[in-house]
Amino acid sequence: MSAPMISLESLTSRRPLDQLPVTAKSSGCTSSSCDVSTKPVDMDQAIWAKIKNHPCYSEEAHHYFARMHVAVAPACNIQCNYCNRKYDCANESRPGVVSEKLTPDQALRKVIAVANEVPQLSVLGVAGPGDACYDWKKTKETFKRIAGEIHDIKLCISTNGLALPDRVAELVDMNVDHVTITINMVDPEIGAKIYPWIFHHNRRYTGVEGARILHERQMLALEMLTARGILTKVNSVMIPGINDEHLIEVNKSVKQRGAFLHNVMPLISNPAHGTYYGLTGQRGPRAVELKALQDRLEGGAKLMRHCRQCRADAVGLLGDDRGQEFTLDKIPGEITYDPHKRETYREVVARERGDHATAKSEALEIVKAAGDGSFKVAVATKGGGRINEHFGHAREFQIYEASPKGITYVAHHKIEQYCLGGVGEEATLDGIIAALDGVDVVLCAKIGEFPKNRLMEAGVRATDAYGYDYIETAIGALYADKFGAEPQAATA
């Protein structure tokens, strides 16, 4: 029996069907073991079952699945030096920023609107502004109502951890099996430089005393979650000169207590944001400093490298925020959930992922068989694990590194979109070239002669020869080309 072939593009793209490019070549996947074959070899099956559709917890899943955050819990119980509670902005993409706060009822309508339109949606989170566990009534009400309508949606929260120990039992009850705690220190002396105050048991605590309470509550919460089998990710903000070295200690401590993933994020510090750090001139880390720290943490708690530091009301795939399409004024007062698109998408993805896993392992064989060398590749993609974005339309590049050790995802570099309204901006191109520093090859679905030549002059080869192929397939072929082994068509 052959299932009707539905193009992944038709579901993920916002362009009309007749403007879509030809579907990628694919060997198809008839095996029912697709799911299993995408599981990383060193991962427990039970954990994989929990994270395989979660874009933030699984690097592999982030190509296929989307999350959305609803800003229903604006009240917070701590003050962080990197946060300014007065700041709202439509054009900024960073944590804590939100355009509209929602009541649980509005959140329900918004989630249904998104679920009907964005088939990749798999996860609903409450992630600020404010703290989901402190402003708990609204978080709980929101989760209950949404889980009642959309049964398969995964619920998750992001929290500072202070009120978290009081909520663990209810989180378990509500099937919330992903929690992110922001832990920036395990030493209250360092904590005092990050948190001016906390509000706990009806009073404000400042300085080391406040930081110590926060630290103790965070560790307790992490232990409680681990004991109950709730997957916990730890977010840490890397603040140069304050906790950068210390994060090595943090990584060890949280791994010891069962944290599943550690996400070290760069401090975002801009005077215009009006945060304490922004105003005092505390700088954020440079990309190389962040990567150097992440590299030093290898071998500790597993690191997350695909984080986009998204808005607290982000919607869609990581790196492609569609929040502005779903503001309250665009959502009808009465709305009914239609599971059709999400169900169809899941069937397509199950096939694609199996196919992608096969392509990946074939590419890996090629890389391992080739000579000794390493290179860096920048990919323009809009999801699905494929090279499917035009150079001029890309707003970020995903950076991969290939060496005999394998093909690994390193980071993403945000760029200004080169092509706006069909015209390329030369000044923008200079910025893109700067962002591609250290990259050997750029892979995209399409690129014009002019930017291609300009990149070549800067020592970067750009090609659309692998357009719509899987990312790893293309990297494998390029690697074999460059380092000696016979090129093979991995998806043939």
């Binding site: 509670r85 007065k86 706060k101 402003d135 009806n202 009073r203 404000r204």
Partner: protein
């Protein structure tokens, strides 16, 4: 005596509303407001005024006299 919220500074986070032991705070227009009739300044309940203690913006939830 009562406390009041400087509306132009308020971020509408609502923390004060659910910390208030007297039910004196509610959302009105663009900000939370404190009903002076109901506000007890937390006397008999807490040592400090909960609204001011939890407010994230300095000098936004203040003693009514000081705000004039």
């Amino acid at each position: 005596m009562a406390f009041r919220i400087i509306a132009s500074q308020c971020t509408q986070c609502g923390a004060c509303e659910f910390e208030c032991p007297s039910g004196a705070i509610r959302f009105k227009g663009e900000a939370y407001v404190i009903d002076p009739e109901k506000c007890t300044e937390c006397k008999g309940s807490f040592e400090t005024q909960q609204c001011a203690e939890v407010c994230p913006v300095p000098k936004t939830c203040v003693a009514a006299a000081a705000a004039i």
